[in-house]
């Protein structure tokens, strides 16, 4: 199979540099010995990493974010995958309307959603509880799970499914053994985006977070209320480090390309 030409590689390099540069700068700043944002020109210091330890609420918030992200993106997939299959395969009345409804959380500013949800949950007596937070996150990450699954499911070779059906696979088995593996790249990508979106959301979560369930972005936002200091950067650097480590471990023990591309796809 043909490889990338030099032009493609140049494009790729520039692309990656641009993507990484702002983050790299942030990570670099985390090593500043100063009390304010500056590139560490005179010496590196771990001062701001040590500082994290003095804010156990950051660490707690990290776990909250992680749990919230994992849970809500997973639940979103449970709802989104069947819906995506339906939308990809059937031409039924109301299909467009349904698709629009499912995508609508993308289209509303999150402030509005935050307040709408808070009003709603308060009126049904849920207030700002963790359950409410999860439900709200499921809704806002749903479009990601849906859209990417949809992209993978549309145009899928249906004869493969027919083959499975003819061999006696039906319903759940058919889905688990054949359909899901075939759309897996889309599902995993969708999950990743959903997770990240949940992990990253601030504007909506601010309204729904209750004491004890503040997420990391909320914590960071509150922290920088009065002052932006390099702690923000060191926390960010840690998040990146933790994520990368997790992914590298995943790669070691399972193979990222397998997760992302599905099995048996390499080669010709």
């Amino acid at each position: 199979m043909s490889r990338n030409g030099p032009l493609a590689l140049i494009f790729h390099s520039v692309f990656v540099i641009v993507m990484v540069a702002p983050i790299l700068v942030v990570c670099l700043v985390a090593f500043t010995p100063e009390g304010f944002l500056s590139l560490p020109t005179n010496g590196f210091s771990l001062r701001w990493f040590r500082a994290i330890a003095q804010y156990p609420e950051f660490i707690h918030a990290f776990w909250v974010s992680l749990g919230l992200g994992a849970l809500s993106s997973f639940v979103a997939l449970l709802f989104a995958v069947p819906a995506a299959l339906a939308i990809a395969r059937y031409r039924f009345r109301g299909r467009d309307a349904l698709a629009a409804l499912f995508l609508s959380p993308l289209m509303i500013p999150h402030v509005v959603l935050g307040i709408a949800f808070l009003r709603f949950f308060t009126s049904v007596g849920f207030g700002s509880s963790f359950a409410a937070l999860i439900v709200a996150h499921v809704v806002i990450v749903f479009p990601f799970a849906l859209r990417l699954t949809l992209a993978a499911a549309s145009g899928m070779d249906l004869t493969v499914e027919m083959a499975a059906v003819s061999l006696g696979a039906g319903g759940w088995t058919l889905f688990r053994r054949v359909t899901l593996p075939l759309i897996l790249p889309g599902v995993i990508s969708g999950w990743a985006l959903a997770f990240i979106q949940s992990f990253d959301d601030l504007t909506m979560t601010v309204f729904l977070a209750a004491p004890g369930t503040e997420t990391l972005p909320v914590r960071m936002f509150l922290y920088i209320q009065d002052n932006i200091d390099p702690l923000v950067t060191s926390v960010s650097a840690c998040v990146i480090a933790v994520t990368m480590t997790a992914l590298i471990l995943l790669d070691r023990f399972y193979g990222l390309d397998r997760v992302l591309a599905g099995k048996g796809d390499a080669g010709r």
Binding site: P82, P143, G155, D200, L216
Partner: protein, 291 residues
């Protein structure tokens, strides 16, 4: 290759979408309906929200050119951002996909990186690179004599588009990448054998086939950029307000929720129309790819 399922019972799609539909009706439609209702309520500095039915807010939005300007800017930025991500993200996904396994996953993660850190830290990075005279890039370019004065980036529309495109890029790359997984490499070979160069292959063979992916990415990016708050607020500042920052202002600072709700409702309706419209258009244009 059509399947019986496609034609068979009209119930199947509804059965499959029912859980999601119930979820949405249960926890999204009602709050949104409440918000739409809100936009018809009255508000006053002293009386707060009055649950009456009036068109005051809608009339204000319709007649005051201030809002038209905000919406026009919103969509201009969203369109430019979408174009930028599609133009750069789709080729990058394609290049990524042609890399060998290990590099592929590595760079995919690198590109997902920006999403992993909070929008606050991310925009901080931009400020450090381009902010004023001290911005790293500006400083470098000025010492090299490439530019005379710093590139204006912060508090400009260009800056907003670039920063938004940066955040949104992973959505596009990943969407396209997922679609690329389905492609039969032999088809590319076929095109090559018929004399198509790399550009033609991408334009005529790859692009149409990955349209579902590009469309997904574009819909996500467009919707998110048009409703984004943090990036426009931080990079654009208050002088370059967009619909979302406007709504934010009304909701949080003025506490004029009815007006904010009207702005949000209008944004939602406009976005739904644009997205559904272009979705239908593209799905029809590339009907065979979407089957």
């Amino acid at each position: 290759m059509s399947m019986a399922a496609e034609e068979r019972s009209a119930r199947a799609p509804w059965a499959l979408t029912a859980p999601a539909l119930m979820l949405f009706v249960g926890v999204l439609v009602i709050p949104l309906a409440m918000t739409v209702m809100l936009s018809f309520h009255d508000w006053g500095q002293y009386k707060g929200i009055e649950p009456v039915f009036i068109l005051k807010n809608w009339r204000e939005i319709a007649t005051d050119p201030y809002y038209a300007e905000m919406f026009w800017r919103t969509f201009r930025i969203a369109i430019l951002t979408t174009l930028l991500t599609a133009l750069l993200g789709a080729p990058e996904a394609y290049i990524l996909n042609r890399m060998s396994g290990r590099w592929k996953s590595f760079f995919l993660l690198v590109i997902l990186g920006p999403l992993l850190i909070s929008v606050v830290a991310r925009t901080l990075g931009w400020a450090l690179l381009f902010g004023g005279n001290n911005g790293l890039v500006n400083k470098l370019l000025m010492t090299l004599g490439v530019i005379r004065s710093p590139i204006p980036f912060m508090f400009t529309e260009t800056g907003m588009v670039v920063a938004l495109a940066h955040v949104m890029m992973p959505f596009m790359v990943l969407s396209v990448w997922a679609a690329l997984q389905r492609l039969d490499p032999q088809i590319e070979n076929a095109a090559m054998s018929l004399g198509a160069g790399p550009v033609t292959i991408i334009r005529r063979i790859i692009m149409p086939q990955i349209m579902p992916g590009v469309l997904s990415g574009a819909i996500i990016v467009f919707s998110l950029s048009a409703s984004a708050f943090a990036t426009p607020a931080i990079i654009g500042g208050r002088r370059l307000k967009v619909a979302a920052t406007l709504a934010y202002d009304e909701f949080l600072n003025t506490l004029n929720w009815p007006l904010g709700a009207a702005v949000a409702t209008l944004l939602l309706v406009a976005l739904v129309l644009i997205v559904v419209g272009s979705n239908a258009l593209i799905e029809r244009r590339y009907a065979e790819v979407f089957r």
